[in-house]
């Protein structure tokens, strides 16, 4: 905006005024389009929320958002509808999620420190390999992984879902943190080195504390992705005792031909609620995370 003045004489600036006004009118239009679009986008979610408070027989006939008859029965009913109560599946999910977050935070930041700050042989090659693994579909490696974990007798344990995170296999987060660590001034490292810090001290005392935003992004994304993950949990957890939230939810629509929509929607809301929570709490980090990894 300020550059206008240096480029054009003041006269030109006044000439621009009607132009600005012209821009203002479509702003109305833009807001209308955006609000209608947002409502359309959110309608399915809001409808599911409202339907979780409707009687199952009402769900089909009521397409509106406000239930005519309200019931809270769906929640206790859904909670206890499966062999174990839903809290059990939430616990299983939480164990995997927490393990994954710890794994990603430690392993990915360590690998990122090496790529961003240390010199070693074939660094460029290994970095390219790391970028390559980011694009690797899990379906390509799932069969050998399954065989390996079966050999270790890890099927129906949490390990197949946590150990890969402890081994820094989510290249996306390494990349995110490499970008971030490169932005930390090298002078800080040097100052620490003069004070007698080795690489582990620099990593732990300088880089980690300064990387909190990138670590937060990593933690939030890991939470959401692991919480929502279905494919690997479906494959590695076949014992109903070990079911996680997504795998348990699936049995609702699988087992019965007549799906009890009320309780199913109630438990779907329970399954989505933590994601909403993390989203609201951490959207700053999420948006920044996508934007930085997306652009650089």
């Amino acid at each position: 905006m300020a550059t206008d003045l240096t480029v054009a004489p003041p006269v030109a600036a006044t000439e621009k005024l009607p132009d600005r006004k012209k821009k203002q009118r479509p702003r109305w239009l833009a807001h209308t389009v955006l609000i209608l679009g947002a409502l359309l986008m959110l309608y399915p979610l809001l409808w599911m929320l409202s339907s979780s408070f409707k009687f199952t027989e009402d769900i089909f006939s009521q397409t509106g958002l406000i239930p005519e008859r309200v019931t809270t029965e769906n929640y206790p009913e859904g909670w206890t509808a499966l062999p174990r109560d839903f809290g059990h599946y939430i616990w299983n999910s939480l164990v995997i999620v927490v393990g994954s977050i710890i794994g990603n935070l430690l392993a990915c930041s360590a690998a990122a420190y090496a790529f961003a700050r240390l010199d070693f042989k074939f660094k460029k090659f290994w970095f390219a390999v790391m970028l390559g693994t980011m694009m690797l579909p899990i379906h390509v490696v799932i069969v050998p992984q399954y065989i390996l974990f079966a050999e270790l007798d890890w099927i129906n344990t949490y390990w197949p879902l946590i150990v890969p995170k402890l081994l820094a296999t989510d290249g996306f987060f390494i990349f995110l943190m490499v970008q971030f660590i490169r932005g930390i001034p090298l002078e800080l490292d040097e100052a620490a080195r003069i004070d007698g810090c080795g690489h582990f001290a620099i990593f732990w005392r300088i880089v980690i504390p300064l990387s909190v935003p990138a670590l937060a992004t990593t933690a939030i994304f890991t939470f959401i992705w692991t919480w929502n993950d279905f494919f690997s949990q479906l494959i590695f957890l076949t014992d109903p005792e070990m079911y996680t939230v997504p795998v348990a939810l699936r049995t609702f629509v699988d087992a019965t031909s007549q799906t009890p929509w009320g309780p199913v929607f109630a438990m779907s809301i329970v399954a989505l609620a933590p994601v909403f929570g993390f989203f609201l709490a951490g959207q700053r980090y999420l948006v920044r995370g996508i934007a930085t990894t997306g652009l650089k």
């Binding site: 955006l34 399915p44 693994t133 579909p137 490696v141 390494i174 997504p246 989505l272």
Partner: protein, 321 residues
């Protein structure tokens, strides 16, 4: 501490001279250990490469030439799995379904993403709120809960048909139970998650200097001309990035198809996504050799498409000066 060979006699250790010597020794020590340090930091990652990512790629290459059902040892059968694949109508069906899905949903998704990013880029009030609302579906679009919701919405007694009957359609189709429409419902689901590429577009649009638009409008270019001649070329690297990313993502769609079809890929294999077929062969029939062959073919497709995208990008992506 223990490298005493070149350390001067003890009495001198408090004198003026030794400082230099011991510092040199410690520097040498650090250099020696310094060579190992990067590998210590990378140790988990290398282990992951060996056991979780690159190693399994090699292992599945081997398995694709074998007959293996988890019991006994893999039996070498040469190219039989691949031969079977090319005679397998369900393999072709799964390829067709996945390609249609990718080719239809990804461009639509990117078009919506760009369109809304353009509207949002005009410095409107409430930008952060709009951005969050539009981004939200991307976060949950792949979850089981949403797939279940989709199954209800597009079911024969679902929300959509409730609305359609309300406005007077007598016999609306069963959408997810109709082979003609089932894939379409999943395409809509993918388009619904346009928020992630939108956020990336938005960040990209922010980087285009306004002076380009001012120059263009001084030259008499209208909004459409400005879009075609300023926005698109300057945004092309971002469009490219989103295209590669969303194509790869779309190729891996599994959960939605699995839930909506109850794991079958039905009706009439109309939602038999490639990954779903792979799952059925590998973990339904425990036909690990065949599943590995399918997996390798998927790797070739995803790699090939990415390569094509990169080559094509040379012709249309504009990287500034």
């Amino acid at each position: 501490m223990s490298s005493t060979l070149d350390v001067p006699p003890r009495e001198r250790s408090h004198g003026e001279a030794p400082g230099g010597a011991s510092r040199a020794a410690s520097r040498a020590r650090r250099r020696r250990s310094g060579r190992l340090t990067p590998y210590l930091f990378l140790a988990p990652w290398f282990a992951g490469l060996l056991f979780i990512t690159a190693g399994p790629i090699a292992a599945s290459a081997y398995l694709s030439f074998t007959d293996y059902s988890l019991i006994g040892a893999p039996e070498w059968i040469g190219l039989d799995n691949f031969q079977r694949m090319f005679d397998d109508p369900r393999f072709y069906q799964s390829l067709k379904v996945t390609f249609i899905y990718v080719v239809v949903s990804v461009p639509l998704q990117l078009a919506f993403a760009l369109f809304l990013a353009m509207i949002l880029d005009r410095g409107l009030r409430g930008l952060a709120l709009y951005r969050s609302v539009y981004y939200l579906p991307s976060l949950i679009g792949g979850s089981v809960a949403i797939a279940i919701l989709w199954r209800q919405i597009f079911g024969s007694d679902g929300l959509l048909n409730g609305v359609l009957r309300f406005v007077g359609f007598e016999n609306p189709p069963g959408w997810v139970s109709d082979p003609d429409y089932a894939l379409g419902t999943l395409i809509i689901l993918n388009v619904w998650t346009f928020g992630a590429p939108m956020v990336i577009f938005l960040a990209g649009l922010r980087q285009i200097p306004t002076m380009y638009y001012e120059a263009a409008s001084l030259d008499g270019a209208g909004k459409v001309r400005q879009f075609i001649q300023v926005t698109l070329p300057l945004l092309s690297p971002i469009i490219f990035f989103n295209l590669v990313l969303q194509t790869i993502n779309a190729f891996q769609t599994f959960t939605q198809a699995f839930i909506v079809s109850g794991g079958t890929g039905g009706p009439a294999d109309s939602t038999l996504f490639y990954t779903l077929y792979l799952y059925q062969r590998g973990f339904g029939n425990f036909d690990m050799g065949y599943a590995s062959a399918l997996a390798w073919f998927l790797l070739l497709i995803v790699g090939g498409l990415t390569a094509i995208n990169f080559i094509a990008a040379k012709y249309w992506v504009f990287y500034g000066d």
